[in-house]
């Protein structure tokens, strides 16, 4: 009850829906016969699971863009780094089942004539270690990057450009074979995760449920942060940064906090994404991907909790449908969508609905206050009751 009041009804409903999906979707695909109208075909589960990971990524971006006003055009990098950390664990699980049958080295290293595992692959045979790296690597990169960028008071377009440069630099680095991350091909051909065969329907159902739970936790975390005093401070930094500085706050630390938390969330999203799509390659670092995340958040409504989740699900569903019909036109549709949303729906879907709703309420309140004034005390007491 207290939790509900602190987080607001919308967060609670969203979390409840996600937890229900975590149970019902796997049940509908595994337990229901194919003839049932509620049966979900097995191939759809990892597809929807992928959307859920994208939703978590969009939510992560919303924390920095929607609430602190940092337009990161490099969030795909944190997603990809989380994905690579998970991919390295999955590669080590292949063992001697690879094409070359080397029990230690992944195929691409055998192909490159490498004799032993590079030092930075140490530990990735263990799930717990990979799980820590999923959080630590994106978090640390964001912390160091943010520390220097925010301390130097790099803001606005300049910050967006250097985040874009960051992800592009990582793209180029990960393309190189001698980096030891599989180069152009990336990491793929996974077999097991935690001992379960990765292609099995039950494993995929489990991964789907994990993604839903991760998104639910993400919603709770972002909800709690944005409702706290720190959350109000974030919005204050977004709207009037110099004012926060002149009342004694250090906006660079507020930004650093949000940026780091956001990068960690993006990393987790990437780690859940990779086993469901079965591959991670340097393409995930492409600047275009990061821009796509921005579009999801913009379509759904930035600065709202629900918006980026809905935006990511809708746009990606649209992408799946459209690329089935006319794949070569998808990028035009995406670009057009961004232009249209910016011009006609600057608050996004959820933001527009919210705004219309609160304007209506304000008008009603004003009308009531007018009526109340003519009745004397009535208006005051009705306002107090609110």
């Amino acid at each position: 009850m207290i939790l509900a009041r602190f987080l607001g009804p919308r967060v609670i409903v969203l979390v409840a829906v996600l937890l229900a999906a975590a149970v019902l979707v796997p049940a509908a695909t595994l337990a229901l016969p194919a003839s049932s109208p509620f049966h979900i075909p097995a191939y759809l589960v990892p597809l929807i699971g992928k959307y859920v990971c994208y939703a978590l990524l969009a939510l992560a971006l919303d924390l920095v863009w929607g609430y602190v006003g940092i337009l990161s055009l490099g969030h795909g990098a944190f997603f990809a780094l989380g994905g690579y950390a998970m991919g390295m664990y999955l590669m080590r699980q292949i063992g001697s089942r690879g094409v070359y049958g080397n029990p230690i080295l992944p195929d691409f290293m055998v192909f490159l004539n490498w004799k032993e595992l590079p030092w930075y692959w140490t530990g990735f045979g263990e799930f717990w270690f990979a799980a820590i790296m999923v959080v630590l690597v994106p978090g640390l990169l964001a912390f160091v990057f943010g520390f220097f960028a925010f301390r130097s008071r790099v803001t606005g377009v300049y910050l967006s450009i250097i985040t874009q440069a960051m992800t592009y630099a990582l793209l180029l680095a990960f393309f190189r074979n001698d980096m030891g991350f599989g180069g152009n091909n990336g990491l793929t051909d996974f077999k097991d995760i935690l001992g379960f065969p990765i292609q099995a329907e039950t494993t995929r159902a489990g991964l789907f449920a994990a993604s839903c739970v991760a998104l639910a936790l993400g919603v709770l975390v972002v909800g709690a942060i944005t409702r706290s005093k720190l959350g109000k401070l974030m919005v204050a930094v977004r709207d009037a940064e110099s004012r926060t500085r002149f009342i004694g706050w250090r906006p660079e630390y507020v930004k650093l906090f949000a940026f780091t938390v956001s990068a960690v969330m993006a990393g987790i999203a990437g780690a859940l994404y990779v086993p469901q799509v079965g591959i991670i390659n340097p393409g995930e670092f492409a600047p275009v991907n990061s821009i796509e995340i921005v579009i999801w958040a913009a379509v759904g409504g930035r600065g709202t909790l629900l918006g980026p989740v809905i935006g990511a699900l809708l746009v990606n569903y649209g992408k799946s449908v459209f690329t089935g019909l006319a794949p070569e036109y998808w990028l035009f549709v995406l670009g057009g969508l961004f232009v249209l949303v910016t011009l006609f729906l600057p608050r996004g879907i959820v933001g527009t609905i919210d705004h219309g709703w609160s304007a209506l309420r304000e008008r009603r309140r004003a009308a009531r206050a007018e009526k109340g004034e003519s009745m004397g005390e009535g208006g005051v007491s009705s306002q107090a009751a609110e």
Binding site: I225, K229, A236, A240, I247, G248, F257
Partner: protein
């Protein structure tokens, strides 16, 4: 006189004990006296600017400016556009570093060595020329974010509202006459109300010194009068520097006036003294 070989036992002189000063105590006293001597004329001042210079691309914004504000004083600063009023505020609040000169707060803190948040936390609040409030927050939240206290990010994350905070907010809302607007978004306030809210945010920081830049620009006559009342109210407990163009308003404040021109002090004294000064009339009032 005492000598060391008489031992540590206290001596009586006319029935009174004379305690030998410990050598360390003597040293401390000497150091304190030296420090106070070094503080010199700025010892008792709240704000002390001496020989401050600042040049932007060859333009001398501040030219050998010296200004002293006593503790508890309210001062009005006037001067034509480009006289260096805003740059002076930027220097005091740490936004701009002077090329040369001394800037001291409470006689001892060198403000040129600190940045904006540090200076704000020391107790210098600043109101901008254009009202700057957090538009998407309620009036109440604007004040809550400004309340003095910890400025740590993690403390803010775990912050719980306290009764003491609520009491302070109530008090400030009453002072700034915004009590019935407390739940309203700041974006919905009138221009004058935003100015008052910003002054309220300064009060919430509980600063020793308030720098107020053109508080009545764009206000109606009634609002101007109300603002003068508010500032006089505030000046009872705080030191205030008001930069203003509106001579009527400055007269209403009834405080010492400094007229700046081309980055230095042109004239200083009562409003009557300053407004009769022929140099002031020539560069400012006469135009």
């Amino acid at each position: 006189m005492m000598t060391m070989d008489q031992g540590a036992a206290p001596q009586t002189e006319g029935g009174e004990f004379v305690v030998s000063p410990h050598p360390y105590a003597t040293q401390l006293r000497t150091e304190r006296l030296a420090r106070e001597a070094a503080l010199g004329s700025r010892r008792e001042t709240l704000l002390y600017l001496n020989g401050v210079n600042k040049t932007f691309d060859g333009f001398k914004a501040i030219n050998n400016l010296s200004l002293v504000l006593e503790r508890g004083e309210m001062r009005a600063i006037i001067g034509p556009n480009g006289a260096g009023k805003t740059t002076m505020m930027d220097i005091i609040t740490g936004k701009t570093r002077p090329d040369a000169g001394e800037v001291y707060f409470r006689g001892e803190v060198d403000l040129t060595k600190h940045d904006e948040p540090a200076i704000a936390s020391m107790g210098i609040g600043r109101k901008f020329q254009k009202p700057t409030v957090f538009e998407s927050h309620t009036v109440e939240d604007n004040l809550a974010l400004s309340l003095s206290g910890s400025r740590s990010v993690l403390t803010a994350l775990l912050h719980k509202k306290s009764a003491a905070d609520a009491g302070k907010i109530d008090e400030i809302l009453a002072t700034t006459r915004l009590t019935d607007k407390r739940k309203r978004l700041a974006s919905g306030l009138s221009h004058g109300q935003k100015q008052w809210l910003e002054i309220g945010m300064l009060l919430a920081q509980d600063p020793e010194l308030l720098l107020v830049d053109e508080p009545v620009a764009g206000m109606t006559d009634a609002e101007t009068e109300e603002t003068a009342r508010l500032l006089r109210d505030i000046a009872q407990k705080h030191s205030v520097i008001v930069v203003e163009h509106d001579m009527h308003f400055v007269r209403e404040l009834g405080v010492k006036v400094t007229c700046l021109h081309e980055g230095s002090v042109l004239s200083e004294g009562s409003i009557d003294h300053v407004s009769r000064d022929p140099r002031v009339i020539e560069v400012y009032l006469g135009r």
